[in-house]
């Protein structure tokens, strides 16, 4: 055999072995696995993010959270509702065609009694199939932000769901596992190879995906393994066993950055941490004050002035926080410099205000705080306790696990509490509807301003964008004057990555593999 033959033989070997060698396997981890692969059963961020790799919605967001067409190519709004023109030639993983019937079916399924999305899309009253690739979502009155509400509403194949007896999401009373919990048949960029909940989930690139070639991502295979313990999760990254950790603990970021071949990305998260003060009850449950001090705007202002947000950022958060005076983060419609003025800290003025309000010697109150939900949640509360002590308010801290903390807020059993709020629709209306409207389900502050209630209702149906933005700004101005909450900061989220992987960080903490580039 001469040299030429050897060269030819080895180049053939390279060509044959090439695809296998070049396969890009992305191994990643996070604390909590998706709860289920059933797309309509759990409205929970990690579940939505993982299902979004297998399933698709009509409208989606990129890593910068801008709206993009996904299964719909275009949409328009008129008096009847929203018309969506669906993408043609799309196939589900099992080969079935994607049609308007599947969309209608999926919306019916998401509106089912057992669905966790029925509240999110309650404005939809009917899904009209016009032809195989056109549908109209009829709403009960105009809904200007409907596309924002659809980004996690995934489309299932009607035929697959019927064949596997999963036409409805599993309800709480069920005694048997539903087929869709561990199996998936979407239209998304990845297909499910294997799924062992809490152990390992493997996905492979969908060769028939409509978006192949349209996105920068070059990942061929995803191997996901949840690791509960934070130190072990970081160790897996440091030892090179995973390429990407979604949620490294903040105190380990410096160590990861200092390691060769690893990097950290940080971004402002769409989640604001704040304290709520119950101003609706006549007498506080945990206070020595005769009447409810929080009813007095001067007390609420004093609390806002007493908290030193910059100190919390510096000392408690190791600079990983964005101090704010608004309970809505940047990136959400309504977060403008005017609505989010610079934070102020003024102990002397706070004391004067408390004295004017009739509490020169302060009062006592209990602060309810979670200890396993937000970044450094309990430490923030401890800092707040000492800051409020400086203006004479004695705060007793009750820090509990989230499963005991949140029921207190839900049942309105707390006077003064910590809460964090994310905005999946990226629109202020979501904040007004849940936290500031008098009937809002998370408005445990009992805030009730007639004009704000009116504006909340009006911005839900106003289609004229300029008018609507004006309403949002007016409502925020009223809230800034009333100070029903004590905003602290927007959280920072951090991802740990091997330097061979580039994944654009997204403020909603979702991993979007279609943008992940591996070397």
């Amino acid at each position: 055999m001469n040299l030429k033959h050897i060269l030819t033989a080895s180049s053939i070997a390279v060509i044959v072995a090439g695809p296998a060698l070049a396969e890009n396997v992305l191994r990643w981890t996070s604390q909590g696995d998706a709860l289920t692969l059933d797309p309509h059963s759990q409205n929970e961020s990690p579940t939505i993010a993982m299902n979004g790799q297998l399933y698709e919605s009509l409208v989606t967001r990129d890593a910068d959270l801008n709206l993009h067409p996904e299964l719909a190519e275009s949409w328009s709004v008129d008096a009847d509702g929203w018309t969506f023109n669906l993408r043609k030639g799309v196939k589900f993983h099992d080969g079935a065609d994607f049609t308007a019937e599947d969309v209608a079916f999926s919306f019916e399924r998401a509106r089912h009694e057992a669905s966790d999305y029925k509240e999110q899309i309650k404005s939809i009253t009917e899904v009209k199939v016009i032809d195989a690739h056109t549908i109209i979502l009829v709403t009960d009155g105009p809904n200007p932000i409907l596309p924002n509400q659809l980004t996690s509403l995934y489309i299932m194949d009607k035929g697959w769901a019927e064949a596997n007896d999963v036409i409805a999401p599993q309800n709480f009373k069920a005694q048997e596992e539903n087929f869709a919990v561990r199996n998936a048949n979407g239209t998304g960029p990845f297909t499910l190879v294997s799924r062992a909940p809490d152990e390992k989930t493997v996905m492979a690139r969908n060769a028939n995906w409509w978006g192949n070639g349209k996105f920068p991502g070059n990942v061929d295979r995803i191997e996901y393994r949840p690791i509960t313990n934070a130190a072990t999760r970081v160790a897996a990254l440091l030892s090179g066993e995973v390429d990407f950790v979604l949620d490294p603990p903040l105190q380990d970021l410096k160590r990861i950055e200092a390691t060769d071949g690893l990097s950290v990305k940080t971004a402002a998260q769409i989640r604001t941490i704040f304290f709520g003060m119950d101003q609706s009850v006549e007498k506080l449950r945990s206070s020595n004050a005769e009447t409810n001090p929080f009813k007095d705007i001067r007390v609420r202002e004093a609390f806002n002035l007493a908290i030193d947000r910059q100190a919390i950022k510096r000392v408690v958060m190791e600079d990983l926080a964005f101090p704010t005076s608004m309970i809505t983060s940047p990136g959400v419609l309504g977060n403008t410099p005017e609505n989010d003025p610079a934070v102020t800290h003024d102990v002397a003025k706070a004391k004067t205000l408390l004295a004017e309000a009739g509490y020169p010697d302060g009062f006592t109150v209990q602060l309810d705080c979670p200890n396993n939900r937000y970044n450094n949640d309990e430490k923030i509360c401890q800092a707040a306790v000492s800051m409020l002590a400086k203006v004479g308010v004695t705060v007793n801290l009750d820090a509990l696990p989230k499963s005991q903390h949140f029921p207190k807020i839900q049942k309105r059993e707390t006077d003064f509490y910590m809460l964090g709020w994310g905005v999946p629709t990226l629109d202020s209306h979501y904040v007004f509807a849940y936290l500031l409207d008098a009937a809002g389900s998370w408005n445990a502050a009992g805030y009730n301003n007639a004009r704000v209630n009116e504006l909340t209702a009006a911005m839900a149906t106003e289609i004229d964008l300029d008018k609507r933005t004006a309403m949002i700004n007016e409502a925020w101005t009223l809230v800034q004057a009333d100070m029903p909450y004590v905003p602290i900061h927007h959280q920072v989220l951090a991802w740990g990555l091997a330097s061979t992987v580039d994944i654009p960080i997204a403020a909603d903490d979702a991993f979007r593999p279609r943008y992940a580039v591996m070397q």
């Binding site: 809490d198 160790a235 030892s239 066993e241 989230k402 389900s441």
Partner: protein
């Protein structure tokens, strides 16, 4: 004999009932699962409705009776968190825990007895002193610290072993084993060593103390006087007599290994029942928590029952007294 066993069985059942009732009543303090089960969009009415559907607002005795009733039908319900039947989940996770416990029991037995004999015979040598003082670490350091330290040494620094997880498993029907492949052994070494350290120290010190005791007895002196070899004295005569209390302790400690495996499994992301329990507590996944506690109580009761019966067989005094 039969009446003795029947009596013990009846007592075991009573213990089971009390243990499960007490642990069940503790669930009241763990919090509300509903908040974890629905999105933040859910209305307060929907939350109340789910609580009612799940029977979470019923008085504890009612909930407990319902739970016992279902349990007798071998129905532990569906996990709130991952929506799968709890019995399936436990059956899936149990092999991982049992293999981990098995391997660490072997490690602690083998090393514990060997080092115990060695330090018992050569009680004044330097090596014995080093072994004894370093074994203090095994009892005094918390399991998770040892686990993390081992991970950083062997996985991050030396990169010899994987930091976590259970790989290289082979399926045998419903039993997934990791003891048949190199990968499986590589992943079980660190968690098994971590889990075994406490028991190893215990056995080492027990064997050493017993050896010292036995070596002072008359029959060892007599054996020496007979001119037997050191080897025969140490292993045939001394060791045999130290093993009776050691076996008793080991039997009782297998239950302890299973209980300790909760921490070890969490540190190493070992997919056994202990990790499942921790995740369930975090989510307030009551069906899994209840089933796990009953399972652990059952294991302890069975082990104790066996130990009691063994005593009965081994020690004639109990027979006479009964």
């Amino acid at each position: 004999m039969l009446s003795f066993i029947m009596k013990r069985l009846a007592q075991s059942l009573l213990v089971m009932a009390i243990v499960s009732a007490v642990s069940f009543s503790l669930f009241n303090f763990v919090g509300d699962p509903v908040n974890n089960m629905v999105g933040q969009d859910a209305t307060r009415e929907q939350r109340v409705e789910i609580r009612q559907q799940l029977g979470l607002d019923d008085p504890i005795p009612t909930q407990y009776t319902r739970f016992i009733g279902n349990m007798l039908k071998a129905d532990f319900g569906l996990s709130y968190r991952i929506k799968r039947p709890v019995d399936d989940l436990i059956l899936e996770r149990l092999p991982a825990t049992l293999e981990l416990v098995f391997v660490s029991a072997i490690i602690s037995l083998f090393l514990g007895i060997t080092l115990g004999i060695y330090t018992g015979i050569r009680r004044n040598s330097w090596s014995s002193r080093i072994i004894l003082s370093s074994s203090l670490a095994g009892v005094s350091l918390p399991t998770f610290v040892i686990g993390i330290a081992l991970i950083y040494l062997f996985a991050v620094h030396l990169r010899w072993l994987p930091s976590s997880g259970r790989s290289g498993t082979v399926d045998f029907g419903w039993w997934k084993t990791s003891l048949l492949t190199l990968d499986g052994w590589r992943s079980i070494v660190l968690p098994a060593v971590t889990l075994s350290l406490f028991q190893l120290t215990l056995i080492l010190r027990l064997v050493r103390a017993e050896m010292l005791e036995v070596m002072r007895t008359d029959f060892i002196k007599f054996a020496r006087a007979r001119g037997l070899t050191e080897r025969a004295i140490n292993f045939r005569h001394a060791l045999r007599n130290t093993l009776v209390p050691v076996i008793t302790i080991i039997g009782l400690n297998i239950g302890g290994l299973i209980a300790f495996s909760v921490v070890t499994e969490t540190v190493f992301q070992w997919p056994g029942t202990g990790l499942m329990f921790i995740q369930a507590v975090d989510f307030v996944d009551v069906p899994i928590m209840a089933a796990y506690l009953v399972l652990v109580a059952l294991l302890f009761v069975i082990i104790n029952l066996f130990v009691d019966i063994l005593y009965f067989v081994v020690d004639p005094r109990i027979r006479l007294g009964g």
